[in-house]
Symmetry: C2
Subunit: 329 residues, 2 copies
C-alpha cells in the first residue's frame, strides 16, 4: 500500500475501525512474558523490525511486535544533551580527521513499539517479508493475463472502486476536495491522499482522479486522452501553487503500474518525500506518459512494461501459471 486513499480497497479487520475501546487487559508496563518465535521482516535501512511472538500465559495465540527506532529529537536542549559527556563513546576507527564510534547516549534511547495481540494468520502474512520479482509484461501478457485477471477481480467484487465513484458523485469525502473540474471528458477531482495530514506543505501528497470512468490504468491510455492528462496537469499545478505555495519544480506527478486500484489516478507529491512507490519499476511520470502518447498514440498498448510483483501477489501467480513470462532476453 502506498496510498492511504487507496486503503479503502484493502481488507482491514473490522476491529481496527472500532473506536478506542476500554480493554479488560491491564496496560503492559514491560514486554514481560513475551517470547520471540521468528523474525517476519527486518528493514535495516529504516531500522524497523517485525517479529512473530507469543505470550507465555497463552501459547495458543500469536502476537506481532513491530519495533522501530525513532528519528532523533532535534529540539536544541535534546540535541545538546545527546552531544554531551553523558554519551559514552567506544572507538571503532580513527583515521586522520575521521573517527567513528559506537556511542551509548543516556537520552533519546526509546523506540516505538506496536503490539498486535492476538494476531491472526492474516496479520502474520501482512508483515512477513515478501520476495519481489521483476516481471516484464508484454502487450500479449497484458491482453492474455493482466486484463482478464483485473476484469475477473471486478466480477468477483475483490476489486471494488465504488469508493472512487462516491467521491466523484459527491457522496463521500466532499469536504476533502481540493479542486474539481466537472467536465465529463477532461475533468477530475483533486484530493489529499490519506497519508497527508493536509497541514505540512513539505509533505504534500494528493491524488487526481479523472471523472471519466472505465480507464483502469495507463495501459488504457491513448492519444485521445492527452487533452485530459494535460488538463489534469496544468490545473493541478496551478491550484497547488496557489493554495499551498508549492511550485511545479518541487513536485512529482506519476502513475503507478500496477496501480493499487483500477480507476486511473495521478499521484502528486512533494519531491522531498521519501516514498517507496516512486521507483523506476513502479512510477511512470505524467510528463513522460503525455509525451510518449504524443510520439506514438498506441505507446501503452504496444509497450512492454516492467514491474515488480510480490511473491504472494495473485497476478504473479497468473503470470507463472501461463509460464510465458520467462521471456528470453
Amino acid at each position: 500500500m502506498d496510498s492511504g486513499t487507496e486503503n479503502n480497497q484493502i481488507e482491514e479487520p473490522e476491529s481496527k475501525k472500532q473506536k478506542l475501546s476500554n480493554s479488560d487487559e491491564k496496560t503492559r508496563k514491560t514486554f514481560e512474558g513475551a517470547k520471540v518465535v521468528s523474525i517476519l521482516n527486518n528493514k535495516t535501512t529504516q531500522k524497523c523490525l517485525f517479529l512473530h511472538g507469543k505470550f507465555e500465559d497463552d501459547k495458543e495465540k500469536d502476537a506481532v511486535f513491530i519495533l522501530e527506532r525513532k528519528p532523533f529529537d532535534t529540539k536544541t536542549e535534546a540535541l545538546q544533551e545527546l552531544l554531551s559527556d553523558k554519551t559514552k563513546l567506544t572507538s571503532d576507527l580513527k583515521n586522520d580527521i575521521y573517527s567513528t564510534f559506537s556511542a551509548l547516549p543516556s537520552v533519546q534511547n526509546d523506540i516505538k513499539a506496536t503490539i498486535i495481540y492476538p494476531a491472526s494468520e492474516k496479520h502474520l502474512r501482512k508483515y512477513r517479508k515478501q520476495d519481489i520479482f521483476v516481471v516484464k509484461e508484454t502487450k500479449e501478457d497484458y491482453n492474455m493475463i493482466t486484463k482478464p485477471y483485473v476484469e475477473q477481480q471486478f466480477v468477483d467484487k475483490i476489486f471494488n472502486i465504488q469508493w472512487v465513484y462516491n467521491i466523484l458523485d459527491h457522496k463521500a469525502e466532499m469536504e476533502r476536495i481540493i479542486f474539481e473540474d466537472q467536465n465529463e471528458e477532461t475533468g477530475f477531482v483533486l484530493l489529499p491522499d490519506m497519508k497527508w495530514d493536509t497541514k505540512d506543505a513539505d509533505s504534500f501528497y494528493a491524488i487526481a482522479l479523472p471523472r471519466k470512468r472505465g480507464l483502469k490504468s495507463l495501459r488504457d491510455l491513448d492519444e485521445s486522452h492527452v487533452e485530459m492528462l494535460k488538463n489534469m496537469r496544468s490545473k493541478s499545478l496551478a491550484v497547488i501553487a496557489d493554495k499551498f505555495g508549492i511550485k511545479q519544480d518541487r513536485l512529482r506527478m506519476y502513475f503507478h503500474y500496477q496501480p493499487s486500484f483500477y480507476h486511473l489516478h495521478v499521484h502528486i507529491n512533494h519531491i522531498e518525500l521519501d516514498l517507496p512507490g516512486t521507483g523506476a519499476l513502479r512510477a511512470h511520470l505524467l510528463d513522460d506518459v503525455i509525451e510518449n502518447l504524443l510520439m506514438q498514440g498506441d505507446y501503452y498498448q504496444r509497450k512492454t512494461v516492467s514491474m515488480t510483483l510480490q511473491d504472494s501477489d495473485k497476478l504473479l501467480a497468473a503470470f507463472r501459471a501461463k509460464e510465458n513470462n520467462v521471456s528470453d532476453v
Copy 2:
C-alpha cells in the same frame, strides 16, 4: 553519489586516503566539550542526523557529527533480551488488538557516531541538506545547456574519466573484472560497484561499461546502439546467473540521467537493495531504453527528460541562467 565506482571522479581530501595514523589526540570517551552549532541534515526515514558543531577548547575549528541509529541486532539472545521485562513500556494508544508504546530497552541502545574534526567548509557543504528541483530537459535544453556544459567540464578537466579508460585498457582494477567482451563495437566490461563487498549475493551491485568511447549518456543513444545494449544485457544476465546464482527476475538494470560520470554505463543490482538512485526521476530501465530505440530510433534525441538536480549543482545554475527551464505546462 550512488556508486562507489563513480567516486573516482569526486574530490576527496587527501587525508582520507592516508593509512590509519596514530593521532596525538587522546581517543574520546564521551562527547565532552562538544557544542551544537546547527543541524546540517536530518534524514528521519533512515534515522540519521548530521550536525555542525564545535569543541569548547578550540572554537575556531569546526566539527561534523554524524549520528545514526543502528539496525536491530537479530541474534536470538539479543532479540529475546529486547523483548523482555527489562524493556519499559509507556502506553501511547490502545485500540482493540492494536497497542502502541514508547519503549525504553535496556539493551541495543547504542548508535553509530562519526566525528570529522577539524572539518573544512567543504565537509560542511557536503553534509548540509540540499534542496532538490525537478528540471525538465527538452531536446533544445540538452543541446543548448547540458551538452555544452558537459563538454566544457571535460575541457576544464573537472570531469575526468581516465579511470574508466584505465579499466577498459587493463591498466587498473583488472583483477576486479567479472566479465569482459572485447568487441570494440558491442563489447563491455562488467565489474563490481565499489559499494558491493562482492560476497553477499543479495546485495549484488555491478556496473557494465561499454568499450565504445564517446557515449556520454543515454542522450547519445540511437538505434545503431541497440545491438550493443542487447549484448550487454544478455551476456551480463547470463554471467550473473552463472557466477552468482541471481536470476534476471531479481535484478534491476538501468542508466542514470544525469549520470555521475559521462562514460555510458549500466547499473545492475539486486532488486531487494534499497538504493536512492532507482527513482523514476533518475533511473531509466535498460529494457525500456532498448524498446524505445526500437520504436523510435531518435527517441533520446527528441525526448524531454525529467530529472532532479540539487541546489548546488552547477548544471542547475546553467539551466537557471538560461531561464528557459520554466517551461509552461
